[in-house]
Symmetry: C2
């Protein structure tokens, strides 16, 4: 990620961003390693877990919806769901109302694992963002929200 030239206040924003992001990733890789999950896999699991909270009783998310929630190409969503399916953490079922579509949801094992990861994180203060005080965290969230995709 190149440096972003401009005013001194802006001079190294891209660089700072790149470095901070890599540190964040590294933090996640470390925390998820004991559970044999990659960050991307866990992120997909979170999306599925969240959807089952939002809409209890439904039979899961369509692949295309997983892709949308993760802001990735459908083909990429297929990939990460494949990985999780092999681990028996998610299951695919046919969508009863559209034969082109597939529904994906966490298995009980997947749900359990997601819970255990979250509990492990809860037991330790957030390792990465814990470096910031609450005010800075809120400020960061506010600013980052402006920088995401349109």
């Amino acid at each position: 990620m190149p440096s972003s030239p401009g005013s001194p206040a802006q001079g190294d924003l891209s660089d700072l961003f790149h470095r901070a992001f890599r540190a964040l990733r590294h933090s996640w890789v470390q925390q998820l390693a004991p559970f044999e999950l990659t960050p991307h896999q866990f992120r997909a699991m979170q999306a599925l877990a969240k959807s089952s909270l939002e809409a209890p009783g439904t039979d899961g998310l369509r692949l295309k919806d997983v892709a949308e929630r993760l802001h990735i190409a459908p083909r990429s969503a297929t990939e990460v769901i494949d990985q999780l399916e092999v681990k028996e953490l998610v299951m695919r079922t046919a969508d009863p109302i559209d034969r082109r579509a597939t529904l994906v949801k966490l298995t009980p094992a997947g749900q359990g694992l997601a819970d255990r990861v979250r509990a492990a994180r809860r037991g330790h203060t957030d390792q990465y963002f814990g470096r910031l005080n609450a005010s800075d965290r809120a400020e960061l969230a506010r600013i980052l929200a402006q920088l995401g995709p349109l």
Copy 2:
């Protein structure tokens, strides 16, 4: 990049971060495409250009120094320098004071290209961070600096 649970202010920080970073990368990919450079390549060029500004007249940076400046493994630095060497944007020379070491510097063509990229960016307001006002940019830099590697 998974969501980071915790307080609502913190709830989706990892997710926001991931999305913002991907948008930043996308922005760089677009801007560098006309110059046939990848973000990583341009970042390495910037590191070399910067070192020649800081220490004019020296014969370049050691590979290990490039790696340090980019915060990547030496092996990875070798890779990106290889790419730039193929494009004749950098040149390697033997270090006169240590026969194990290699010095790397931008070629005149590399220097010219780096200048042209920067001029192109200058002609257009920074596409990505331009969404933020100056105060937010300074705030972001301050916070990100706390989140980088130790």
